[in-house]
Symmetry: C2
Subunit: 129 residues, 2 copies
């Protein structure tokens, strides 16, 4: 089987998130992955990733759509700009994000999301009523 | 003269900012540039860029250092992760940023910075006393 390029690994990760398939997500990250939501802080390992994504994806949202607008890569480093949309109580919460990834041996070893926390929390509060 | 690659154009832009050389910055952006500080909003054209950067660079800060940790590019699109450090009243204010650029004919036509506004404002308030 041909190994995926770093950009394809990141695309597969986003696809797994959009399908709410946390097992697939965890299979695409290294055992020592660092997943850093910059304004919040970093977690480590597949279990850390699962815990954080469970909060945003599988629990609160009845549907999710993550849309990448542009993706660039140089060697093991991949970056992209995307909007993460979560359907919460019938209202779409949309988070504009720029992310940086490093890929090692076909798995993501660093995932760092940059976004404005306040904009996200305000939308989420409004959606939850 | 050989035209710079998109990645080199972005590197020159960051270098001009670090030198507080707003004329050089404005010479590196297109007439219809969109400069979008995501949590704040977008400005248009070199004059818009100059106004926004004047507030952050030439006015409040006695020294600045913008450090790019990783830069990736695909065709006209460039992204990077950087820390913008501003010396304000003897205290360094540091903003972790991920940015997306598009380069057209050797100039930046889109510059979009993603960061957490609250983290920046809190540091700035503390520095200003």
């Amino acid at each position: 089987m041909t190994q995926l390029t770093p950009g394809q690994v990141v695309a597969a990760l986003v696809d797994a998130c959009s399908r709410k398939d946390l097992d697939a997500v965890c299979a695409l990250v290294t055992d020592d992955v660092v997943y850093d939501n910059v304004p919040v802080g970093a977690v480590h390992g597949p279990d850390g990733v699962r815990t954080v994504l469970s909060g945003g994806i599988t629990d609160a949202a009845t549907a999710i759509e993550w849309t990448v607008s542009v993706q660039t890569e140089s060697g093991p480093d991949v970056m992209h700009e995307r909007v993460d949309a979560f359907l919460v109580n019938g209202t779409w919460v949309r988070i504009p994000i720029a992310a940086r990834f490093t890929v090692r041996d076909g798995k993501v070893s660093l995932w760092r999301d940059y976004f404005d926390l306040q904009s996200y929390l305000e939308q989420k509060r409004a959606a939850l009523g």
